[in-house]
Symmetry: C2
Subunit: 328 residues, 2 copies
DNA sequence: ACTAGCACTACTATTCTACGAGTGCTAATT
DNA sequence: AATTAGCACTCGTAGAATAGTAGTGCTAGT
């Protein structure tokens, strides 16, 4: 258990280090606190023993450890109202009545990314939650056409397919069959339903059924099973802790890996959650702050990803604001 | 005019430097050529006087200047057949009969980017070339629906719009009007046609026409006027000349700027063109190699972007192969 | 016309220095 | 018992000195 003073010191160190990424020395703390640097040093030692602080070398100042950040977030951080300036910029996006919710979310995350220099992420609903609403086919020329797949939640994907010697009639028959028989099915079950419910029928009544079946099969099996939207990846280039190319390459690879990002929503907690470093399951050098949101049909996860040295209070207040505004 | 030997030396320097980005000394050249390093040095001086070579400092070896690369590409580079290995990897993509052409192009550019460590770009046809084919509307819930816009070339975009108290009937009327009256119009003229041909009609017959008109107006005015597809931006992280964060940030910003990339297809030359450094109009530190392609309705521009120190012969042969294969 | 030879240049890597910001510990003070 | 002043010590950083080396340009001789 930490003493009152230890808490104060830890808080000061974390906040100072977040402002400016250089190890914090005892002297600078003793100025704010009313005691000598020697006392602060003793307390710092205690905090280091607890595993909350670290040194970069034997005689350097202290920086927060992963556990230090954790403790800060769990016990020391003060809930902050969003600054007026931050609020204003976001409000203009939210008050745009023209935009659909999903567009508002992406736009506001762009704004947040620019304001904070962190990367933001929206994860949409997964394909087993998305039900097929309907498909549309638009012929482009003799042997190619576009298939458009729409889900009940408004997710749209399209694919250009090529068919040789298949008449428009037969395509339309198949489309109607699909719309009548398997609309309402979760997207990731459509492929199998196609096989058992559509294939036998078109096998009898439709010429070129092999080709047609294959084409549609691919359309659905390629359907993105997770909507992922990463905004402001490049912001990592502005973070001093990612100033070398190898680290950047590593982080970029991870941010471009949808399966990996998917881990953010593995827990089904609806509140705002903070995952620091190794807790993030994405990269030991980043912090992920996330929350789920839900408004009618639209639901998913928002996340802000930055260095562990993150403005936790500011980001949390922003996510709170986002969640609130999305949910009504 | 360069002597025969000068050409040989320039060629050797360029090719050596491309393989390994360190200034090339006279000694290494004299080994391949049958003459002393002193002779080579004299020739190098001459080449430097011509502005084809540069030094990084007074006593360093030479590196090719922009003009040096230019001369190499125009006069010295040997047309190379694509290596069997490169060919093989691309063939598997091209021989996939299932894929639509546009998908084949993107897939193969991914392959090329991975093989070469350069960034690749596809620029699709611009919106004044794209004609509106048809629009589709799919209601999602009470007050939101998806509008899908399809062009004659198979470009598809969709937008989620919100409408309050507008009945489906009236939306459908409007959609039919648009499909009947202005299909066939170049996309970037649709907005104005909407105003003069649709607005007056729905003004009379459709309730809530203001809202409806506005919604559709936005759908078309937001239509991406240029299809841009950049593959393998991160490859720049692997190029030694872009090993510092500022340069990377700069290049990334440029690669994410569609208007800037658009400059690649400003010339309407159908052949393969090489733009070195400042010629590229994108960034002084990159080379752009591009070609236009056309196959039926699908047309556009392919480009490969990398450092000036690029494997010109290899990239040119790849683009040739791409162009040929796309065009039939 | 070519080349051997040489003085010269500038980058690189290594070592040394001085400095300063920080530490931990001890002993004195409150 | 808690705090603090004082001090020896550590380590990173910055700058200067050094040596080595890969290259040059020039001259003079083949």
């Amino acid at each position: 258990m930490l003493t009152d003073r230890q808490c104060k010191i830890l808080k000061l160190i974390v906040e100072k280090y977040i402002k400016d990424p250089v190890p914090v020395g005892s002297k600078s703390i003793s100025k704010t606190l009313k005691c000598s640097s020697a006392t602060v040093r003793n307390e710092m030692m205690a905090l280091e023993d607890e595993g909350l602080l670290e040194k970069t070398h034997t005689s350097s100042g202290r920086i927060p450890s992963e556990d230090g950040y954790r403790y800060y977030v769990d016990h020391l951080m003060e809930a902050k109202k969003m600054s007026g300036e931050d609020m204003l910029k976001l409000q203009t996006v939210f008050h745009n009545q023209q935009l659909a919710l999903s567009d508002v979310i992406v736009k506001s995350l762009q704004v947040i990314s620019d304001m904070t220099n962190y990367t933001t992420v929206v994860l949409g609903s997964t394909s087993h939650e998305n039900l097929l609403k309907q498909i549309e086919v638009v012929p482009i020329d003799d042997d190619s056409m576009i298939v458009i797949v729409i889900t009940d939640r408004g997710h749209v994907e399209h694919k250009n397919i090529r068919l040789k010697d298949v008449s428009l009639e037969e395509v339309k028959k198949t489309v109607n069959l699909i719309n009548n028989l398997i609309a309402g099915t979760p997207i990731d079950e459509v492929s199998t339903k196609l096989e058992y419910e559509i294939k036998p029928i078109i096998g009898k009544y439709v010429k070129q059924h092999e080709q047609l079946y294959n084409a549609f099969y691919h359309v659905f099996s390629d359907f993105t099973n997770q909507e992922v939207n990463v905004v402001g990846k490049n912001k990592f280039l502005k973070q001093p802790e990612f100033s070398n190319i190898d680290k950047i390459q590593n982080v970029f690879n991870k941010l471009e890996n949808p399966e990996l990002l998917h881990r953010i929503e593995e827990d089904d907690d609806n509140n705002i959650k903070v995952y620091i470093g190794s807790e993030s399951k994405i990269d030991d050098d980043v912090t992920v702050i996330k929350t789920r949101f839900k408004n009618g049909n639209t639901e998913g996860t928002l996340a802000i990803i930055g260095p562990k040295r993150m403005e936790y209070d500011r980001v949390v207040s922003m996510l709170e604001y986002m969640k609130e505004n999305i949910e009504r």
